[in-house]
Amino acid sequence: MKRMTSLALSLLAAGAVTLCARNVTVHAHNLPATEVFEEIMTRSGLNFVYPSTLLKGLRVSVDADNRPLEDVLDEMFRDTGIVYRMRGDNIILSRRKAAENATVSGFVREEGSEEPLVGVIVTGADGKSRTATNSMGFYSLTLPCGSQSLSFSYMGYEPQSTRPFTLTVNRNVDVNLIPSATKLSEVEVLASPNRNLSMSTPSIGSLKVSKSAIVSTPVIFGESDVIKTLQLEPGVSAGIEGTAGMYVHGGNTDENLYMLDNIPLYQVNHLGGLFSAFNVEALRNVDFYKSSFPARYDGRLSSFMDVNTKDGSMKERHGSLRLGLTSGAFNIDGPLNNGKTTYSVALRRSWYDVLTIPTFAIVNSLRNDDHFSVGYAFTDLNAKLTHRFSERSKAYAMVYYGEDYLKVTNKHDDEDKQSDYDEEKHRLRWGNIVASMGWNYVFTPNLFGEVTGAYTRYYSSMVSDKDYGVYHDSKPVMQTRDNTRTENNINDWIIKTDFDWRPYRSHNIRFGAGFTRHSFLPARTRRTLQDASTTITARELITSYHANEFNLYGGGDWQPAGPLRINYGLHFSLFDIEGKKHTNLSPRLSAAWSVNDNMVVKAGYSRTVQYVHQLMQSSISLPTDQWVPITADHKPQTADKISAGAYITLGRDYTMSVEGYYKWMDNLLDYQDEYYLLPPDTDWEAKLTPGSGTSKGIDFKIAKEFGKVTGHIAYSLLWADRCFADKNGGRPFPARFDNRHKINLMLNWQISPRWEMSAAWTGMSGNRFTLATQIWNDPQLAPWHYDMLMGTDVNNFRLPFYHRLDLSAKRNTKRGYWTFSLYNAYCNMNTIAVRRDYNFRFDSNRHTDSFPVFQKIKLIPVIPSVSYTWLF
């Protein structure tokens, strides 16, 4: 009677059960299912057909106002083990076949900002079933039905566990993690994204880099830089002192695929490579792969780096303003539209022109006939808009713009306006634009999908005007004018889809496809010569290519037996250019065997293919660098790599890894010998020569990721060589950054909530250098006398051992934080090259004389820097 009263009151209060088409209104709280269904049948005319014992003891709760019947039934039967089918006016209820497994899925975000957290470790009740969130913060974990619970752990955040629940059907669990102010000093979280990668996946040589890790790495001028953080990893060479170069396992710098939210970025350097294009204020985290590659990645030979940018806070507006010695940065993000939409904007700009323009203005004002000025600046702008349609559906639009600009003017004038004058203006711009839109959707708890459309552009423009003239009656009259304009760019239109599917508990499959329309303009050069009477277009060259690239991939993680995990994949690519279709299959396979809870051994093979490559005239980034495609005349570059490793956890805090690899590279392209003797506008293909290369080595690392003191010690051993048909006379030679031994020590100490200190020491075998020692007699055909250098073997000399210590300290204040850093703290100026010069000597009569000597060029002493970041 009491129950009937309760039901009646509920139904009456809700306006009873009403059925409008297939919509129903019903409100019931913890009532017997039979009573609710009978009432619905009475009022709606629908029949519920079920065995009499099916609903025995079952109580349901539901709140629905004019909602679709299916939604209401879903809600009522959630976690009950009962399923339904609709046949006309009959709703047939039955018990679900006893399921062995069900999937728990959801998103993990940061408390407060609601930013998705990437790489959060999600562990089932057995402690062995685990997965990690993807770049959208989504996870999917298939577990045995029954009593379950989930625990979520992530470095720098308080761990969180759900209350035990009975898992009978798929369910959704979203979690927000709270940042840990004490950085794990009071709570112990013995799981991290990188420990998970090492111990729980077949992945070899993979790394997740958090924003905090990047910020705490000491760097030159205090400009936090993701690439400089990666330089401290084993197997990654930095290249030239101070720059953001990255040479992975003996590869070249253009063999790394840099991505911004999974969209390729071609130009990743500012100021000749001193800084990278990734503004740390805009990024959320970074995924880096150097040995075994997921099937979704291809297109480069050596490594893949995917930078995920911030979505923006869903709760409130945040921002920061940073003032440093070389640049300033402003960042703001926050919610729009009641938190369903978020925005994030980050702007960074260098200061150099602020200093140079007034300096040259003052200098020029003191001179009458020569005027000279230089202006340089780099700018980065990241903007992102994200909208959440529902918990399952999210879309975003992202824009990145980064540019370097250099302007040089030089004017020589006749003070009396009687003779001649000349004026030169040079303007150089180079940079990237990336625009992308994406939509991701959780189709089912087991299936996550994303579709992306994007445009990415690299461009370089150099314009030079030279005027020569004379004065007639104190008026300038142009005599000749020389205008040169050179452009090169690459434009990609991209559309692709990616899916993450977990069909079985032990199997996670990722698949997708993509299409890219490439437009290459390696060179558009126009030179106009003009005198008083005629204009000659002396040089006009346009070389452009269009290519279509199609990619299809599939692969997955599979755990066929308890201790064995396998990652397999296949990436198919088709590159269609000039009527020639290059097709390639890139298989990937890696396996991990858990010897015990503390040790895993792995082995893998991967093949990568590269269709575009960068022509660089030097080891620093210049606007003359060109991105060019493989054409009908050259084969795609390929690399086959085998790798193996062992991973051991030592106690609670330490992880040790040893990874070995051997890589074969074919169809590599490089400038041939004496290419610089060809005219500047020569077709670039005529300057190249195909070849091959190998690299092999061992990476060793011990990392401590937990506690107040964290860090790692890394050692890498490397051999890398190249062989090209028309370079070095066809003989093999060592790669430029064949740094045989490299040691890195990284230490981070959280002294107190206010103070944090970091130290990074790097020691490595010096870079290779081509040193010509023999001189031949000058035939005096050139206008000036120089030493005639005799050609020698490429990279025949190894520079002295390189070592450097960088220190930084961060002091948190109420409104932000100070960063103090010392680059090259003990001022060991390292040798970057060898030059020929003259030094003094004394003869027997104490007369001085100059004597030819080789000299080491040593660069960059201790450099202190300070910056302040204001948080709001």
Binding site: G272, H426, V470, E674, W776, M790, M829, L859
Partner: protein, 343 residues
Amino acid sequence: MAILNRLTYILALLGLSLTSCYSDFEPDVLSKPVLCMNAVFTAGDSVRVELTRTWRYDEGIPGEDFNIFVTDAKVLLYVNDEAPETLVVERHITSDPYFPQYKDRDVFVSKSYIPRPGDRIRLEAVSENYGAASAEVTVPRQIKIDHVEKEVKNIRPSRYGSIPYMFDIDLLVYFTDSDATQDYYKFDCKSSPYYYGDSGAIARFYYTLDLTAEPLFTEHVSTLESVIANTSGYSIFSDRQINGHTYPLHISLKDLQLDYNNPNNNPELANAGVDLILSAISPDYYKHVLSVWEAEDGIVGSLGGVGLGELVSTYSNVSSGAGIVAASTPATYHLALPPLIPE
């Protein structure tokens, strides 16, 4: 101006590094001297071949610390595949106080052969101590100067009391390139000797040769190099942009001051002036000079010199890797200056 450009380059690359330093050392690189062979076959001129050995840079200063000339070698000269002539050693006297290595030297000469356009020449040399060296070159066809247009400008008071005024001459040196061949050129300007006549007759002049107005002289310079590189003094070019066309080279004689007195006492004075020389040069000649420019001033060489790029070695067409065997055929146009003296 060039210095300023250079300064920009240095500032851009190294200035940000605040400072750098240098220290002497002896690199542990093994290398041994080889035979170097230098010769320029000029149509109508006698043959002279210099044989030297290469030396390690820090070995010292050649000519001062050691002798580099090789005289004990056997040098054979082949012309158009005919029977070779063995060159003989002869003392060549050209003292140069600034470069001791160019003091009087022993060179190999031909007693009978004078190069002609179209000749295919091969040199082979063998030295007991420094090995063998060989090279081949073809003497290019002559390209004549069609005519020269002259314009006198900017007449202004001279800086010297004895000369009343100075002026500039803009020249358009017309020539017609052959479209049948790939041609390389070098432009040069040479003053005729001073004239000292009897009774105070004198024709003496000073000027600065200005090549900056001619774009072909910088055709090897890329856009970025035009910002940072020094191109002064170089006057080599190819017919790549003017193939088969008639083209005027823009040349200026700047700040020309002519000391020209009592010409009637010596009729030869009226012919005093400059020789405008357009030489057709062999491809290897062009490449060699270009490599010298690239090594010292081009972007690849400049960056290579500070460890940021590849080494640019000097171009050699000799089998040993040292030396250049080149050829040229000059065409001369004499520009008499006295008729251009403004009234």
